[in-house]
């Protein structure tokens, strides 16, 4: 409440009662293709939850099911306590922001923002007041008479948001709303969206394939793959304790190094042998693997957890070096042929292609079952 009231004129923009959104065992098939596979997921009232996954993972379909633009093949969809499976989109009282913004090109900004109000027969004076307040809070006052074609990408995005906010919906559905913006604008709008959510305290279901967007926009992130839910957790948990190798490889930039390995406990210390090198294990990890009793394991090491250290256990040759200004990424070849990405802060290291380096791993590596990919808890 404090966040809402601290800003002038924004109190009345806030939704009175943000709603809970729920998928209960929702499946959607298009012919033989299963787009969404038995999805059970809840978005708490006022929460911002991000659906994240690669293209074709079913995240947009899930969002469209919530909006009512698709009908689930099986399962129950709820908004608040109401089952909405058979409710028309226009009666669901949710707002959606599309990747294309979907602004009505023949209407000026004012009429675009008004559209949902006119659809609901809001009286003219009330309408004018709402449009004015919304336009002001998004900095659109001076653009009200322009057509969408006369606006920049960022401005269009704001109009699309204004159209969603103006009618105080029970929840916001956002389908890759930032994908059409250039990199700089995207960063700006990302911050604005996050702030808007904080300010309005509304329920947001946000779809993206961009993990940076997901990490910054979501209070929780739900990762989908082939229509199936992989993990739902806070960004930090998803990053630090990925539920399986897929999530581990999908979250983080550059992606986590994932290698097939074999547990070796012959000389008293436990280590995982990989591709002509080895990664030492702490006592807890060693115990967990010993208890499991199988020698094969998949190990994951984040690029930032590798550092050059003469006392290390991985002897590699630098194959390529990328300088990004604030950090550098090295692609390093293991004796067995595998490639390891190393992320070094700063740009002072003079390592280049052909140089031999010894790498050490900081802390325990992530361990996954080589068959089902699930995390082996330590």
């Amino acid at each position: 409440m404090d966040a809402r009231d601290s800003r002038i004129g924004l109190g009345e923009l806030a939704v009175a009662e943000p709603s809970r959104l729920a998928f209960e065992g929702v499946t959607k098939r298009f012919g033989d293709v299963v787009a969404v596979d038995d999805l059970t997921l809840e978005v708490e009232p006022g929460e911002s939850l991000v659906l994240l996954g690669p293209s074709g993972c079913g995240k947009s379909t899930a969002l469209r099911i919530m909006a009512g633009l698709e009908t689930p093949t099986a399962g129950v969809v709820r908004i608040g306590d109401r089952v909405v499976n058979d409710v028309d989109p226009k009666d669901r009282d949710v707002a959606m922001v599309f990747q294309s913004y979907a602004l009505y090109p023949h209407l000026n900004v004012r009429r675009n923002i008004e559209f949902p109000l006119r659809s609901r027969h809001v009286p003219a004076d009330e309408r004018d007041r709402l449009v004015a307040t919304t336009a002001q809070s998004l900095g659109l006052e001076t653009l009200l008479d322009r057509k969408p074609a006369q606006l920049s990408g960022g401005q269009r995005q704001r109009v699309a948001l204004a159209r969603a906010i103006v009618r105080h919906p029970r929840a916001f559905l956002m389908d890759e709303p930032l994908s059409n913006l250039d990199a700089r604008l995207r960063t700006e709008m990302r911050a604005e969206l996050a702030e808007l959510h904080l300010r309005l305290g509304v329920t947001v279901l946000y779809v993206t394939h961009d993990q940076v967007e997901a990490m910054t926009m979501g209070q929780r992130i739900a990762i989908l793959r082939d229509g199936a839910l992989q993990q739902v957790d806070a960004p930090r948990t998803v990053h630090d304790r990925p539920a399986n190798a897929f999530v581990a490889g999908f979250i983080g930039s550059p992606p986590m190094n994932i290698l097939a390995g074999r547990v070796d406990t012959t000389d008293g210390t436990a280590e995982v042998v990989v591709d002509g090198g080895s990664i030492p294990l702490g006592p807890a990890a060693a115990a967990a693997l010993r208890q499991r009793g199988l020698p094969d394991v998949t190990v994951g090491v984040r690029p930032e957890h590798l550092r050059a250290d003469p006392a290390g256990t991985l002897k590699v040759t630098v194959a390529l070096a990328e300088y990004l200004g604030h950090e550098q990424h090295l692609g390093c070849r293991l004796p067995g042929g595998g490639l390891l990405t190393v992320r070094l802060p700063g740009t002072r290291s003079a390592l280049g292609p052909g140089d031999a380096v010894t790498l050490a791993v900081e802390g325990d590596p992530h361990l996954f079952d080589p068959v089902d990919g699930n995390r082996i808890d330590v």
Binding site: K90, M96, A102, Y104
Partner: protein
């Protein structure tokens, strides 16, 4: 001459020309790049202009010129130059104004209904239901029908003794529809609408499919029902196509000839004597002078109508 003010693309394009200019003697350099580019442009347009000149511009001017000559009723007597007097007599005659009136009536009977039906059928056929392809093919099929075929089909259907329409309307054996002063023009208009429906349907279907699905979905979520979506989103986005169909339809209706020639020959009692058919009759009667005046008049009327459409109606049209 400097490249500084030019767009990079244009500058790159002009580099070759600029190189040539440097080598050329002083006099040619002054002609400049713009002049040379324009010359190349005209060269590209030349073939089209040549064809237009022979088949359009020359006949047009020649027709206008022929209007100054009164043609004698006997082929042996030469035409006589009468200046503007023939223009004056034809354009103030009752026959001209009567035929213009019929033409306007015909346009009003064909164009709006044709567009309404086209939009309606296209909207229906846009539905995603089983077997809709069959209807799409059916609705667009008249595009593959010639005016002559359409006329013959309707001529049979409207025949007072054996026609199905006459039977359905309970007037078989009596006066035929095409022989009725009241119904002949609407009947010819109906044939025209029927024949054009395929074209209008295809136009409108293409335009409907070009409307981004996102917009209609956004409108659904914004609380708009089917009717509001159609009036507030679909129709405004169809407006350029509707405008185009209107302009093309009016021109086509002004020039509709085949169906009138095959069905009524301007009858009964001149009740389907539209401008173009009046022109044709004059031409048949070897009255080339009158025919030329009418042709010129038709040209200027169409020009005026089209200009008015662009000037006033186009303002209400939204181009994406």
């Amino acid at each position: 001459m400097s490249d500084a003010g030019l767009a990079p693309g244009a500058a790159a394009l002009g580099e070759v020309a600029a190189g040539a200019a440097r080598d050329a003697p002083n006099g040619r350099r002054r002609l400049g790049r713009t002049g040379r580019e324009a010359a190349v442009g005209y060269l590209f347009v030349l073939p089209a202009m040549a064809i237009f000149a022979v088949f359009v511009f020359y006949p047009l001017l020649r027709t206008f010129w022929l209007g100054f000559f009164r043609v004698a009723p006997y082929p042996t007597i030469p035409s006589k130059f009468v200046g503007l007097s023939q223009y004056k007599s034809v354009l103030t005659s009752h026959d001209f104004w009567a035929s213009l009136g019929r033409t306007v009536e015909f346009v009003i009977l064909t164009v709006p209904i044709g567009i309404l039906l086209g939009v309606g059928l296209a909207t229906l056929a846009d539905a995603r239901i089983r077997g809709i392809r069959f209807f799409r093919t059916l609705y667009s099929s008249t595009v593959a029908t010639s005016v002559a075929v359409a006329s013959v089909i309707f001529f049979t259907l409207l025949n007072p003794t054996v026609g199905l329409f006459s039977y359905w309307l309970g007037i078989e054996g009596g006066n035929g529809i095409l022989q009725s002063n009241t119904w002949a023009l609407p009947a010819v208009a109906t044939v025209t609408v029927w024949q054009n429906i395929g074209f209008t349907f295809i136009l409108m279907s293409a335009a409907l499919q070009a409307i981004p699905q996102d917009l209609l979905e956004a409108a659904r979520i914004d609380g708009a029902g089917g009717r509001r979506r159609f009036w507030r989103v679909t129709l405004p986005l169809l407006s350029p196509t509707v405008f185009f169909a209107g302009v093309v339809g009016i021109i086509a209706s002004f020039q509709a000839f085949g169906q009138i020639d095959l069905l009524t020959q301007g009858g009964p009692d001149n009740h389907t004597m539209v401008l173009i058919y009046y022109l044709y009759t004059s031409f048949q009667n070897n009255d080339f002078g009158t025919a030329s005046v009418l042709a010129t008049a038709l040209f200027f009327i169409l020009l005026a109508v089209t200009l008015v459409q662009f000037r006033f109606i186009e303002r209400r049209v939204f181009y994406g």
